[in-house]
């Protein structure tokens, strides 16, 4: 028997576009909620037209399909009174709504929290902005790379003498969407006990500042900016050897370990002169020695030797190599989705529940695919 999904019976209206809000909607859908995208006529969520490597699933991009599988789509022109009436009827019946418009947009069409609360006092209203609703940046575009750059994050990655290095993924959008899921779930719990709705506000900038809480707290204590190491920087607050090293035929990742213990394997004369308490202060010198050392043998040789001493090392793999491992294969992390007569492959929800996975083969909706159906549902309920 398939498992009873935890969010069964919960309806989420997703006014959000691109990634931050929609990745929250995707998680809620996988957990069992019914997620209805409210999209504008013509183009819908602009992510439909946003492709990477020019990959398309149907008239919408593969990227859009990856983020929006397992959802429904309703088309509504939020500037038309008729459509707004329809949307307000939907809101009256919904449990949760999310939007990530710039500040002011929802107020202009009377869909801000205080207006929505009058239609549905128990709703959990979730709002994602770029930089909060006050202050000089409130009208700046809430774009991932820009917020990485402004948040200090880009000084965590890469080596000391490189430019600031951004994370090569939309970390800010992804984090904020995932935090929104946490808040929505917690608000659903409270609502079940008290019948009280909630107004949840998140911003991309606050999300990525939270992500750096260890660095920022350390900065508050020292007043000093953290420094990336000159080579093999893995984490600017950690001692040598922490980082990735080139070997004869690839790369190894070397985590925390006492230098002396590492040298039992490496047997390097120069390394012997460093005391453990110098492993942070002199990490550049130590890492320079290690960079030479690891070049002298293959990745496999190092792994064997170091694992024999229970040292924390792993190979550096690309996706192709990862997919060859039995661990990856046993995780069954891939799932197939039918889009028309085409099949696309994507990943599943990462959470396992009572030893089962949340799987769904339902594809992302075509623009407005469910408008008529949902209008009929509303009519039926009125009769």
């Amino acid at each position: 028997m398939p498992m009873e999904l935890p969010l069964k019976g919960i309806t989420v209206l997703e006014f959000s576009q691109y990634l931050s809000g929609p990745c929250a909607g995707l998680r809620l859908a996988d957990l069992g909620a019914r997620v209805i995208k409210i999209e504008r006529p013509g183009k819908g969520d602009p992510a439909r037209q946003l492709s990477i490597k020019n990959l398309w699933a149907d008239e919408s991009s593969l990227l859009f399909h990856t983020i929006n599988r397992n959802k429904e789509s309703v088309v509504a022109n939020l500037k038309s009174p008729d459509d707004l009436l329809f949307v307000r009827q939907l809101i009256a019946k919904a449990d949760v709504m999310t939007h990530n418009f710039r500040p002011g947009v929802m107020d202009a069409i009377n869909l801000d929290y205080s207006s929505v609360k009058e239609i549905n006092p128990n709703i959990i209203y979730t709002e994602i902005s770029g930089y909060g609703k006050n202050g000089p940046w409130r009208h700046k575009p809430g774009q991932d790379l820009l917020i990485q750059a402004m948040s200090g994050l880009t000084y965590s990655t890469g080596n000391k003498n490189s430019n600031p290095v951004p994370f090569g993924l939309a970390i800010v959008d992804y984090l904020c969407g995932n935090q929104a899921v946490q808040a929505i779930l917690a608000a659903l719990i409270r609502r079940h006990k008290t019948n009280q709705g909630a107004f949840l506000e998140l911003s991309l900038l606050e999300s990525v500042l939270d992500f750096q809480f260890e660095f920022i707290t350390t900065y508050f204590q020292t007043g000093q900016l953290h420094q990336r190491s000159e080579t093999s920087n893995g984490h600017s607050l950690l001692s040598a050897p922490y980082g990735i090293y080139k070997t004869e035929d690839g790369y190894v990742a070397v985590a925390m370990m006492p230098i002396e213990k590492l040298n039992v394997v490496l047997q390097n004369e120069d390394l012997r002169t460093f005391a453990e308490k110098e492993a942070f202060e002199k990490r550049d010198e130590i890492k320079a020695i290690l960079s030479q050392c690891f070049l002298s043998a293959t990745t496999d040789t190092w792994l064997q030797k170091m694992h024999a001493h229970d040292l924390w090392v792993m190979p550096v793999l690309d996706w192709e190599q990862l997919m060859q491992t039995s661990t990856y294969q046993e995780l069954k992390i891939e799932q197939e989705i039918a889009v028309g007569n085409k099949k696309i492959k994507t990943t599943r929800c990462p959470i396992s529940y009572n030893k089962e996975y949340f799987l769904s083969s339902r594809s992302a909706p075509r623009l407005g695919e469910h408008t008529e159906k949902i209008k009929r549902e509303l009519l039926k309920e009125k009769v």
Partner: protein, 379 residues
């Protein structure tokens, strides 16, 4: 009422992944009791990063464990074990991040816990889900980044694989674990049943890469290629990246290259009229752009680009960021108190009903609440 009022969490986890999940749950109103072993406690207490300490303990321990209590117990001692059993009876959630097998040996597996309290939500994080060739390997952040493919996304084409410089695997696994716990708590309100939630750091990093991995799966397994110059995202066209200027750095997101050329008076860009070249020739375009932007200050360029609605920003370090009005209005900082001393840290990023979630309670000293908890729960 706080969102998670009256929820009691016993947190056996250490370091960052599990504790970051319980931190967020504490922020939203849950009561979190760390169960720590005698002498060392959570190993993170002694993890001195960059030689910075507060009250003899690492600053990061204090950042991760504020707003929690500490209960000292040796799981191998029969008396202590009995106390833990009694706590489990009244707890809503049990969290741990030991390697597979450890809690089984301690007789605190999910099956054991379910017998003590059938309604408990049992949540665990490990490195590799106990599966395949890596099943017993430690769940360590850098190592997980290394095997997950994520190190081929940041940095430039000719750089070594570049790890993300924040413990992203730990934090994301903690985030996903909290989601699973909350979903189970919600379902329990109607079913009255407990649940087992498992998250591995590898699955969390795979989920983090879901967009680009899906691209890889459906594109004949073509591996990502970072751009050679100012890489911002392996799959995005120029100008996407961070550029050095005469006095600092600026970020440029997606944009029309010809328009950029016009606005910046960089004639060499005007010939790139075909948008597909913005991807195919991105290294060439970015090299030209980098050469040009080096001749002026970041503020100067931004004063041209921002009014034209080009997506750009100045790159800040913490010194610069914290002077900005846009940072100050967020009120992201809070003071917590440890033995009467105050420590500045960050707060929960979520606002609820118009309020910022704060708590002045600092991280507990090892075993600080043991005797109070023994009395309170009659252990």
């Amino acid at each position: 009422m706080k969102l998670l009022e009256d929820i009691l969490i016993l947190d056996f986890s250490q370091f960052l992944s599990g504790p970051s999940a319980s931190l967020r749950l504490a922020d939203m109103g849950a009561r979190v009791i760390k169960i720590e072993r005698p002498v060392t406690g959570d190993i993170c207490r002694g993890l001195y990063v960059s030689d910075v300490m507060v009250d003899g303990e690492s600053t990061i321990f204090h950042a991760i464990n504020r707003n929690k209590e500490s209960f000292l117990a040796d799981m191998k001692d029969p008396d202590d074990f009995e106390k833990i059993r009694k706590l489990i009876k009244v707890a809503d959630v049990i969290i741990h991040n030991f390697r597979p097998g450890v809690m089984e040996r301690n007789k605190l597996s999910y099956d054991d816990v379910r017998e003590i309290n059938p309604k408990a939500i049992y949540a665990c994080i490990n490195g590799y889900s106990g599966k395949g060739e890596w099943k017993d390997k430690p769940g360590q952040d850098l190592l997980l980044q290394a095997v997950s493919g994520v190190t081929f996304l940041s940095g430039n084409k000719n750089d070594n694989p570049t790890p993300m410089g924040v413990a992203v695997a730990d934090i994301l696994a903690g985030t996903h674990l909290a989601q699973g716990i909350l979903a189970a708590l919600f379902q329990r309100l109607t079913t009255d049943k407990g649940a087992l939630i498992e998250v591995s750091m590898l699955e969390s990093l795979i989920d983090f890469q879901f967009e680009v991995l899906s691209c890889f799966y459906n594109d004949g397994h073509a591996l990502p290629q970072r751009s050679a110059v100012n890489n911002g995202h392996a799959y995005i066209s120029s100008p996407y990246g961070i550029y050095r200027t005469a006095d600092g750095y600026m970020a440029l997101a997606m944009g029309d290259i010809v328009r950029l050329g016009q606005l910046l008076k960089c004639d060499a860009l005007l010939s790139y009229t075909n948008p597909s070249e913005w991807f195919d020739k991105r290294d060439e375009i970015k090299t030209i752009l980098q050469g040009h932007l080096g001749s002026g200050s970041a503020r100067e360029w931004l004063s041209i680009l921002e009014p034209a609605d080009i997506w750009c920003a100045e790159v800040f370090d913490y010194d610069m960021l914290m002077k900005q009005e846009g940072y100050k209005v967020l009120e992201m900082e809070q003071e917590v108190f440890i033995n009467g001393k105050s420590l500045k840290t960050t707060r929960c990023p979520i606002r609820v009903d118009g309020e910022i979630l704060r708590s002045a309670k600092g991280a507990p000293s090892l075993g600080e609440h043991t005797s109070d908890i023994i009395k309170e729960f009659n252990l």
